[in-house]
Subunit: 752 residues, 2 copies
Amino acid sequence: MSDTWSLVEPAFSVNTARAYEGLFTQGSGYLQIRGSLEEHLSDCPQDVTYTRMPTNVTSEKFPESKAKWGTYIPGLFGKHPFLCWEMLNLPSFIGLRPIVDGEALDMEHSRVDGYTRTLDLRTATLRRTVTWQTRSGAAIAVTFERFVSAHHPGVCVQRMTLACVQEQAVTVQASLDTDVRTNGYDHFTAVTLQAAGEDGITCHLETDGGDTVQMLTRVCAPSASWRYEAGARAAQRVAELRIPAGGTLIVEKRTAVATSRDLQPSDPAAVLAGIATSRYEDLHAEHAAMWAARWESADVQIEGDEASQRAMRCSLYHLLRAHVPGDSRVAIDAKGYAGDAYWGHFFWDTEIYLLPFFLYTDPERARTLVDFRVQALPEAKQIAARFGYDGARYPWQSDHAGRECCLLWQYSDHEVHVTADVAYGLVHFAQATDDPRYLFGPAAHVLVETARYWMQRIDWVPGQPHPSLLGVMGPDEYSPISHNNSYTNRLVRFALAKASEVGWQVGASAEECAAFALTGAALPTPRAQEGKLVLQCEGFDALAEPNFADMWRDRTKTFAAQVSQERLYRTKCLKQADVLMLMMLFPQEFTDAEVRCAWEYYLPYTTHDSSLSAGAHAVIACRLGLLDDAWAFWLHSTGLDLDVTHGGAAEGIHIASCGVNWQIAIYGFAGMASAMAAEHLTLRPQLPAQWSRLSFPILWKGCPVHIDISQEACTVTNRGEQELSVQVDEQHVVIPAGETVSMVMPVMAHVL
Amino acid sequence: MSDTWSLVEPAFSVNTARAYEGLFTQGSGYLQIRGSLEEHLSDCPQDVTYTRMPTNVTSEKFPESKAKWGTYIPGLFGKHPFLCWEMLNLPSFIGLRPIVDGEALDMEHSRVDGYTRTLDLRTATLRRTVTWQTRSGAAIAVTFERFVSAHHPGVCVQRMTLACVQEQAVTVQASLDTDVRTNGYDHFTAVTLQAAGEDGITCHLETDGGDTVQMLTRVCAPSASWRYEAGARAAQRVAELRIPAGGTLIVEKRTAVATSRDLQPSDPAAVLAGIATSRYEDLHAEHAAMWAARWESADVQIEGDEASQRAMRCSLYHLLRAHVPGDSRVAIDAKGYAGDAYWGHFFWDTEIYLLPFFLYTDPERARTLVDFRVQALPEAKQIAARFGYDGARYPWQSDHAGRECCLLWQYSDHEVHVTADVAYGLVHFAQATDDPRYLFGPAAHVLVETARYWMQRIDWVPGQPHPSLLGVMGPDEYSPISHNNSYTNRLVRFALAKASEVGWQVGASAEECAAFALTGAALPTPRAQEGKLVLQCEGFDALAEPNFADMWRDRTKTFAAQVSQERLYRTKCLKQADVLMLMMLFPQEFTDAEVRCAWEYYLPYTTHDSSLSAGAHAVIACRLGLLDDAWAFWLHSTGLDLDVTHGGAAEGIHIASCGVNWQIAIYGFAGMASAMAAEHLTLRPQLPAQWSRLSFPILWKGCPVHIDISQEACTVTNRGEQELSVQVDEQHVVIPAGETVSMVMPVMAHVL
């Protein structure tokens, strides 16, 4: 498998069908579809109603099913009776099924040779080829292709090619199925299906979120006559066709989708009419051109290890696919619009894990993510008010309207760092884009309102010399109600300091700004071991020892799956990096010795039960020169979606990990300091032994830069129009506009 | 209102209908019915289906309804789809409605004069008299009477008497209605209603708990012809009758109930046939005789304040009513079988709040309560195993089968003191009944198995000189995951010590018993203020100050109703007594100065949001000689069910408070030390100024004693057959069998 641009499913198995379905999700941002099979599987109903109850997703068992359809339009949410607002799984329009001599193509039950399904990452195109040995004796080469057009974001284009040596009669069904559920619940309040012309099906849908959805699908084949068959919730066009002897039968299906929520309203009929004369190849070419431009500014090239290259591109593909260009009414949900599991909700992932990739490759896309929080400020103020505070408090788990949708109080009530993470994200945007107008404009309101919340959330306990943030959950969710969590305190200190800087711009008094600064500065970082060890929180060292040897016997499963939550909550066991996350975000504030001390103390306690743990560990390992560890964490993190035999992306893409994987490469192996940690572009490259080259484009404060790292040298090209100050390890150079400088890599003493 | 044996509803109001409905609950232990109106109210359907979600009951808003029927048989549970197992609300069989000239009697809409409804506590009889001025001009005196027979525990006997000056035609409907819900959910899997003979209705019911219920109701009036009318879920007998001029029409209704779960199976038809020749008066007399015997051994007489006397008897009535004699497969649920609110579940209330009254007045009844835990031991072992521990761990919220039914993890996971409370209850039973066979027999298994759980639940944190109980919630539920809660640690210390004593009896090795003793003894009691202050838990003094002045403006509502749970959980605010509970259970271990220090420290932080708070405060106030405080807490605690204008018993009886009220009188004002705290009967009486006399019977280690306290003297009568050692304040006397000794009360120095 030498193509580093392709993800390949080499054979079909029902055991991995859901994992590939998630992994092969395609999307234009606006419209997302899971990689389900066009002809579907038998005995796999998608209308199963069940009651999903609020629980921890990470320990949840999802209903068993061979396949799980998913069609999503970011921002289309409905109200679930128990689960708050959730992103709707929309009707599936990709159905396309050949039937030969009464036998429907079925990957599970038909005799199929030469199965190959490939997601071409470069063009975001899914292609499947099989040879179908029908029970009646025919051998038919079947190819399915499809893409969600980057050029027409509401359009999905499909093609099925059938070839056979002899002439062969074939029945083709092209369906649109609205009988789907979101987490077992039916959100559609009205469904109207109708025949459209001679070859189409229209669907008009009303949702319990108050939105309407219009779908039009048209199917096309040479001299076909398509009859219309409809049930209450599904419809199909059916034609009796012939594969010419030694030739091919090509069936195309095009679907356009529009909703009442669209920024640019459109009529699906007009959209499809507008591309009616375009051939499949034409539509694909304009789509592929847009993807080529995206890759141009985003691709991270890795040489020496094809698996790494492929994994890196898989992450970047999903980041680019999942982001909705130009729409700041949504961010990127936890499953990257590739599953229902996290209800389409938005987490701190946005600011901490996803934003950097966009910030340094495509600030326009980054802008929608930070603007999403700015536009959610009014709702954040209401959340603060509901908790009894002034100011603004962001939800742990946000829907499209910025509402708190987390149903488990330990997170919604106590994982307050998200509000400081939001502030960090806004400032990061302003820093990385060198845009003080953003800081003093849109960001300032958020900074000041969230600071007002913090001022009331912070307690001054009589008899203590400092203020405290009591009863918080840090990034490590296994310490639920802790006091003075170091990560949270530092982020809040940051947020208050920034609010103090910008407050005057939005009417905060000098006294209030001074109070922000003084209170924030006084928030403590608890320490132990004579100050050498940054404690995750007060009293962390007085928690129980975990005894992993006895209790975590099956390391293929999470620790949490093998012990009770009660035990987690009283034990020194970390779900993910917490102090190390702090040190990753504020690297300049901690000495190598402190980082090393934290690494050595926490690593034995860290379960990495969270998919977000590996990334911070990889980056910190690079800082400490622990390249073997960094490599192991890189493999762990990039394997999450790709490891189809362990579930992989079955419930959706680990999209935050995709962002993390970019960070491992850029912050870790290239050692780039973020614009929050460095004024000038600063690199500290250390390639894994397996890699011979790592090269990538970066936008550094508006200046396009290309960085090319080998084991021997680091080459920086200034593609901008002004000179660029660059530091590589201890070497500092100023690179004129348009010039390239190559620096020999030093012997990395800290590795030895 | 001079009758201290009666609770009176002086006028009907829909605003207080539910409160009286709960307050007037009647029961035989086996069969319980809320005090609903026989003719019901209009526009008040009882078949409303809704989804009750898991939440904190104390902050829950229940569906609005003028009335809430409740018919319960302890032990009949069903499986709710979200709420675990819950006690079933069974069909209502009390329906009895007169209709005159087309107008049905209706307390809300009919013109009614002279409404009086009285619950006679002495005979557990509910009686209502009204004069009904019909729209057609008749004036009809209507009297409803009913009781659930103590003599025939599955039988309810009703009588309706109608009197009129002129002859008056009247239609009477006698119904049985199965169209009821439990918390909005229908648990009946099959319902069969049939006419029985000329005047009866039978109901055969199957529940989703796998039980069957048989009901037979018969109605009777002179020369009546009862037609049968039935719908799918309800049936009635209807007759056209006449009230003779100047005379009375008497309609009787008798219902017998039996279930597949009965200890003594019976046939309702045979039961009613067996009493067919008994007059209402006969049945009532045998019922009243049994209640008289109950009161003989339990009544607490208070002179000088009728309200106190009435309130005391109200509590004792409900305790006697709610207990199921001879059936250790159930205990007493949190709402005293008078409402659905707590799902019929059993809490630590059983051991700590309810048990003492039964222990010192009727040990046979107490025995069923402790045996309930003994028989639940196998399930408790399964609960421990599910949490990953050896031994046995009792559920926070138990159903009849001993299963954990609490849906909120902060309680089910962390409020572990219940397991030690169970041990305390078992030992209390053995001590109070002077029955070491119980201790070394049934109790020993529980003590050793729960000790094995504690040995694994306790952590030895490296670097600390003592073991710790980490991550627990004490009785104060506003500190959710605290370390070394003093109450819990002391109870566990107690449980481990007792397990160590009895372990040899059930096969625990000497080494294991020694480990129990040593580990328990080493569990710390955290302290502050140079040791003077017992801390509720480690770090309690570092929690935020509550700022009640700003945040708890409406003192008619709980503090929790006015702030977020998040704030509660990081603040020095107590839901109920915690350290004071500890000092109440182990009074001899704390000096008056320590108790005083705790009182002064915690009282300003205590919200008394829990109905269980006032009792411990009243008892501790008595110890400290703070009689004004004790009086205020007495009024608070006894008012909970009686204050109908603030909801009172609308959702059920605060049955634990009923037990607490007995404790306030006996442990508080009479100053009796429990058998856990004193070897000999010990009294330290201090009557409130409002009371001239407090007298009550007690069984002290098998010896019947009568105690009579006035402001001047304490008179103790030894009704047993052996001499009795008694200490009253500093006076110690030995009272020969059958003798009475009167002691002059000392000047109470500590009051002054």
